[in-house]
Amino acid sequence: MLTFKTMIKGLVCICLASSINLALADEFTQEDEQRWQQQFMDVVKQGRALWTSPTLGSNGVACAQCHPNAANTHPETYPKFQKQIGKVIPLWEMINWCLRNPLEGQPLAADDPKMIAIQAYVTYERRGVKLEPGQH
């Protein structure tokens, strides 16, 4: 049960916060949005660089050779039942399949910044397409 004392304490805190002009969590400006978008696009750009890089794998083959503009990767359908693997997997596992096989390289951890950048790029190229989780 809230005591009168704790309520007062809370009120004081709120007053203090607004008096030193801290940003409120649910308010943001166009500037903020532009900055966040820029952060995202920087990662997309890194992803595009990896996508076209002959050194991501070991044999000089780049993702873009088979997937120009990341076409035929269908990020909007993951996670899905990947028939060749026999279970439901997220997109990054399929990316690792490509890294190991056509690129004859090493897989990346799910939270490797490179893996995140690749997924950011692939998804960005697919912008505007509606989500179809599970679709083959």
Binding site: T52, N59, G60, V61, A64, Q65, C66, H67, P68, N69, A71, N72, H74, Q84, W97, C98, N101, P102, E125, R126, R127, G128, V129
Partner: protein, 358 residues
């Protein structure tokens, strides 16, 4: 007992079919033509993209594609009159790649002719390729058909000669299919002049087959499924009664009819490409006539790759696609409808789910 007999009979029957199938050209043998003396076939292999890694190492996957096509084309019965290679023998135009590709191709037993692809060209503008294979554009006559080979992957002089500090960088910029720094393909004025001249000696009734690397029609500019001066080439070919254009570059089955000209693409031996409609941001014009090939399964190295043999029955092109993990496809010129048609899937209702691309 009778059950066993029956299954044994079934087995023999199936076994027999497998054996027939493995001699490959059975569908070709079955084709009968009106004037059989005039008909002939040739094989078409394209887009091998032999890719050098280092020293004597090449990307195995692409090597295997070309080796398989060569081995199978050698098994064709009846023998094709010649074999065409449709361009992009190399990935980055180096001597190592062209030499390695030429060595694999040398196993072919039939006469061989080449088309120039952008991956062969943009390192030294075709100098080493010419040493190995001859001129970049030419024509020849065979059994009453006039064949024309164009180098359709040239581009604006400014891009070729002034834009890039090194030949290696120029090659890399053009090698990226989706690279925004690339430039549209074109035949160019020099060859258009030559083509006009070459055609003056050809009778209007003579069937003409044009080989180019890029489509001599406009499908999607972003990936150079496109030739900038396509309309001008089409205009030069317009006065002739039977004209067929066969092109590579697109790594997929496409076909179309524009006026008197039939267009057919050939597949790659290296890897398949997505249809342009699979790129959500693309403005593209895949011919309505085209029934796409099946979506590729990457877990089968050779799926959606292959090679083709071509019948020139009565001067029209019939294309037989040898697909490794799917049923083979036949796209044949329909005299009734006056355009190429798939023999199994053309009707809207006949199409199957794997042909749906998105």
């Amino acid at each position: 007992m009778s059950n066993i007999n029956q299954s044994r009979r079934q087995f023999l029957k199936t076994g027999g079919l497998v054996a027939l199938g493995s001699t490959l050209p059975i569908s070709l043998v079955e084709l009968a033509f009106a004037e059989s003396s005039q008909n002939f076939t040739f094989a078409y292999i394209s887009d091998a993209h032999i890719q050098h890694i280092k020293g004597n190492r090449f990307v195995r996957n692409w090597d295997m594609g070309l080796k398989r096509a060569v081995a199978e084309a050698n098994l064709l019965t009846p023998k094709p009159d010649f074999v065409m290679f449709g361009g992009d023998l190399a990935q980055l135009g180096s001597q190592a790649e062209l030499d390695h590709g030429a060595e694999i191709m040398s196993a072919l037993k039939q006469p061989l002719k080449y088309v120039m692809g952008e991956h062969d060209y943009y390192l030294d503008l075709g100098a080493y390729w010419e040493k190995l294979f001859g001129p970049q554009y030419y024509s020849f006559d065979h059994k009453g058909v006039h064949f024309i080979v164009l180098n359709s992957i040239r581009t604006y002089d400014d891009w070729t000669y002034k834009r890039w500090p090194t030949a290696e960088q120029r090659m890399l910029e053009m090698a990226g299919l989706d690279n925004p720094n690339g430039s549209p393909f074109m035949v160019g004025e020099e060859q258009r002049k030559w083509l006009k001249q070459d055609l003056t000696k050809v009778n209007k009734d003579t069937p003409i087959v044009v080989f180019s690397h890029s489509p001599l029609q406009k499908i999607y500019k972003g990936w150079n499924f496109w030739t900038e001066d396509a309309e001008q080439i089409q205009a030069l070919l317009k006065p002739y009664k039977k004209v067929s254009v066969i092109y590579g570059h697109v790594h997929q089955i496409q076909y179309n009819q524009i006026g008197n000209i039939s267009f057919n693409s050939v597949m790659a031996t290296a890897w398949p490409w997505p249809y342009p409609q699979s790129y959500a941001q693309a403005e593209q014009y895949l011919p309505k006539l085209t029934v796409p090939m099946n979506r590729a399964d990457p877990f089968f190295d050779r799926d959606a790759t292959g090679w083709q043999f071509v019948n020139l029955a009565n001067g029209n092109v019939d294309l037989n696609f040898t697909l490794y993990n799917n049923k083979d496809r036949v796209v044949r010129f329909s005299k009734a409808n006056k355009h190429p048609e798939d023999q199994d899937y053309q009707a809207e209702k006949a199409r199957i789910d794997p042909q749906r691309h998105y």
